[in-house]
Symmetry: C2
Subunit: 188 residues, 2 copies
């Protein structure tokens, strides 16, 4: 690709820069923990100028918010196996894989940190949870339409997601398949 | 108290400085979030010299660790009401009051942040959880000795503490008495 072609595809370069910057943020959270780095660290790690980050994201908080939203919304689609039991087991195993994966704890810490940061972070956290709850609710609604008794979305949060989140946040890993299935069994 | 008397009671002054510094840390976590302040900010807020903090704690991480350990160990003693049902309800209500109190979310965020910080933080987090688990275990052991069936300590973590922790970390408050009792009912 020559310079002229590159100039015609600003979207391609822009998307690549965004991906590098997002990965730099995720790496820095994993290595140093949330809050222990600045825009300059992200820029250096991503190989871009500080000014590119300020121009595009305004500052660190907006960037962090975007990273969390992008990572969590990129999660696999909600399962549709034909039974609530199958859906919940698949969903719980999927979440467990995500939060114990290479970037999982970092993203989970960031999601928690967002809710304790400023107004914008809190709003981003609330939006993120609303979107996840909506997806979970459609899974539970499908079960009810098939005539299966289904718990509330908040019960799934309290008794399947919360235990897994807290165990990962506290470093009590791995989450074994038996443990995850046990959470679903107890809920159903 | 004159200067001579003060000089004779270094423990009194030392304890007062420690209390001021601890409170400054808790305030800063509440206002700015974990990681968004340095030793100098703590010193300024507590009205002491930076060097006093470095001399006594070495650095920010040790200080943060000590604050979390002190706050969480200062929690009310484990209840002993004569029945597991009563003990668990009292304990859950106590934890809910602590984590939704003025400094509760800050301390909870710090406990989570510790586990993602360096080796020393992870060890402090693990020690803290071991101590809390030991206390909880004695409550459950007392119930078994009375002939009551009792859940495992990890079930209490997963189904009573984790849902409350996650709701506070995500800003889904207040935790109502009905909600808290519902968690205990479901566990028993």
């Amino acid at each position: 690709m020559n310079e002229q072609q590159r100039a015609r595809r600003p979207g391609g370069r822009s998307a690549r820069v965004a991906a590098q910057v997002h990965q730099a943020v995720t790496d820095l959270i994993g290595e140093r923990g949330y809050g222990n780095f600045a825009v300059g660290d992200v820029a250096a790690r991503a190989g871009v100028a500080d000014s590119s980050i300020y121009r595009r994201w305004g500052g660190l908080e907006t960037l962090l918010t975007e990273v969390v939203l992008t990572r969590l919304n990129a999660q696999s689609p909600m399962p549709d196996t034909g039974s609530l039991d199958g859906d919940l087991r698949t969903y719980a195993a999927q979440v467990a894989r995500e939060i114990t994966g290479p970037d999982g704890p970092a993203v989970l810490h960031l999601a928690v940190a967002l809710s304790s940061s400023g107004q914008q972070g809190r709003q981003a956290g609330a939006d993120l949870r609303a979107e996840r709850t909506r997806q979970l609710q459609s899974m539970l609604d499908r079960a009810r339409e098939r005539g299966e008794p289904a718990p509330d979305a908040l019960d799934v949060l309290d008794h399947v997601l919360a235990p897994m989140y807290i165990r990962v946040l506290f470093g009590m890993v791995p989450l074994t398949p038996d443990y995850i299935d046990g959470l679903v069994d107890r809920l159903l």
